[in-house]
Amino acid sequence: MDDRIIEKLSILADAAKYDVSCSSSGGKRKNENKGLGNAEGMGICHSYTEDGRCVSLLKILLTNHCIYDCAYCITRRSNDVKRAGFTVQEVVDLTINFYRRNYIEGLFLSSGIFKNSDYTMERLVRVAKKLRLEHKFNGYIHLKTIPGASEELIKEAGLYADRLSVNIELPSDNSLQQLAPEKSYAQILQPMKDIKNQLVQATEEKKLFKSAPVFAPAGQSTQLIVGASAENDNQILQLSSSLYKDYNLKRVYYSGYVPVSTDSRLSILTETPVIRENRIYQADWLMRFYGFDAKELLDEQHPNLDLDIDPKLSWALRNPHSFPIELNTADYEMILRVPGIGVKSAKKIVSARRFAQLNFDHLKQMGVVLKRAKYFITCQTRSLNRRDYDMQEIRNRILFGDGSVRSALLTQQLDLFKQVS
């Protein structure tokens, strides 16, 4: 019996690993019933895989039997892989026993679609319900919402889950229809809208009655695959920007396409460079935490993110009129826009300058990284540069010399080649 469980776990963990969401925070579920688990604080990464991703949740599929045939997906109907399925009780036992040993923060349950959407969704909800009601489990639960599931089931799922997510899968409806003929944006955006409405309603009710039932307190997220279809970075960022605005999403995850399929519908069979995925995440962060608008980062003239340098540096180099800024007087919002200065450093600077006029020694002590920043700032009108550089020079100095910050993900040969040509 153990052997069978081991086999199921290896199949269904393997099939779920391309879903990148790992967040376990924002649940705010306190252990008030002397039960098991507490998810009130920040998320915890309990381990890291050898590819460097965090492991905080037991991330599995309930089953990898699927009636759909999406070209990019390893569990698609036409793919010849081993199939397996857990029972509700098996998932519950694994979750509880892993949680008790401090292996995980909770469960992330998704599934291939068997029979139909509602039938599948109903089973996912049953797992969450059992954990919450029978086992007094207060850990984190993230349920995948199956496209096409009924509104009632989504509503019930939100009662037990901390987060719900519907994957938008690809950056445009066109690509989706080509690669996943059974799916469409309409069918995916509908549950997303339902969840958003429920979230809004729950917050309203909470204002009136403290005892109002919570609905997915950690909000909703989605995921799209980068590099399986031909969209450029500009289209991708425009899409996520509108998802953040129109659907109040907490996160959009991007998953660089790993070729798991030789399906003829996929024109591009090479692996997406990790660096592209990385740059898109950086741009996503700039939109959510640094006050950047998608339009500032990319437009029709610059449809793709620069792979050599990060998007903030790239923006700064295109906007020389904004720099240099004086750190002792500049607005916090502007300090955030200096390449190499992050949220923490910006906050420290704004805090410390109330007590003293800052100089570069202060910055170094505080741990502000100056490699890139020094080209864009002054301290008490002093600069660290011996002369003024134009933006092309700054780019070259940052990339190739004088304290190079070349990303480890880029090979040196590539740079040398570019230098020559």
């Binding site: 153990d2 469980i5 081991i6 776990l9 290896s10 963990a13 393997d14 779920a16 690993k17 391309y18 306190k30 252990n31 002397k34 039960g35 098991l36 688990g37 507490n38 009130e40 604080g41 915890i44 990464c45 309990h46 381990s47 890291y48 895989t49 050898e50 590819d51 460097g52 991703r53 965090c54 492991v55 037991l58 991330k59 694994l94 026993n97 892993f98 008790r100 040993r101 401090n102 292996y103 007094k136 790993v258 692996e271 990790v274 420290k348 805090s351 410390a352 109330r354 007590f355 003293a356 800052l358 202060h362 002590q365 505080m366 480890a408």
Partner: protein
């Protein structure tokens, strides 16, 4: 020149602050009694920890500092690095001597040092909350050992108490020789008579019958969520430096049942 010695407790250190203010004799150096060297020039003052005096200093600090800053001071004490006494003293003195709040004045060295020490301790605390792995014994006790870089066991107890309210658990710090035991109602600090040997602590046969099964399932899970095409050992090691591997069941040799 004044050398203060104290008993190594946080209370003792606060008493040193009290005595220094009482005498207006600012310390050149503050050290633990057992580490004190005879002092050639100047006076050695041996301070005995005193609850009332320590409390008065702490109450005074509460009027000057936020809860977060007080916590950072305590974290600096648990940091256990050389010179922490002087840093804490300088910080407290600056707080008392300045009329406005000193928090955020990172241009002052002691404020920056406290912030940095507290950050290191907090990071280690967070790592212990993540990397502790319990093993279930036959009598349903969930047991784990740790040997953290800083003395963070006192800081992680609350977290585990809230999280595992319905199971008995114990965490033992093998480096410092004390542990915490939760008996379903409250947490006790305990010294075990025979301190367990360093890593593999529980003798065979003590573990619950299903312990090996779940350990193995966890290893199977860990191996299968990895995407080999995207292997990135540098990033992997940055997240879990090798010194933490000893805690992690997924980093132990694979079990064959």
């Amino acid at each position: 020149m004044y050398l203060y010695t104290y008993d190594g407790t946080f209370e003792g250190l606060l008493t040193v602050v009290f005595e220094a203010y009482e005498r207006k004799a600012w310390p050149t150096s503050i050290v633990k009694e057992e580490l004190a060297q005879p002092f050639m020039f100047g006076e050695t003052i041996t301070v005995v920890a005193d609850e009332d005096k320590a409390n008065r200093v702490w109450k005074g600090l509460q009027k000057k500092l936020s809860v977060g800053a007080l916590q950072a001071l305590y974290h600096t004490y648990l940091w256990e690095q050389a010179n922490l006494e002087q840093i804490i003293f300088d910080y407290i003195k600056l707080a008392f001597d300045t009329s406005e709040s000193i928090e955020g004045n990172y241009a002052a060295l002691c404020v920056l040092q406290v912030q940095q020490a507290a950050k290191q301790v907090h990071r280690e605390k967070h790592r212990m909350e993540a990397f502790v792995r319990f093993e279930k014994t036959a009598d349903e006790l969930f047991y784990a050992t740790i040997s953290p870089d800083f003395n963070v066991l006192p800081l992680i107890i609350r977290h585990f108490e809230k999280r595992y309210a319905d199971q008995r658990w114990a965490i033992y710090d093998t480096k410092r020789g004390f542990g915490a035991y939760y008996d379903l109602t409250s947490v006790l600090l305990v010294n075990f008579e025979h301190a367990p040997s360093r890593y593999r602590v529980l003798p065979q046969g003590v573990l619950a019958t299903d312990e090996d099964k779940y350990k193995q399932l966890w290893q199977v899970y860990f191996d299968n969520v990895n995407i080999p095409e995207r292997k990135n050992p540098k990033l992997h090691l940055r997240h879990i430096p090798k010194r933490y591997w000893k805690y992690l069941s997924e980093k132990q040799p694979r079990m064959l049942l």
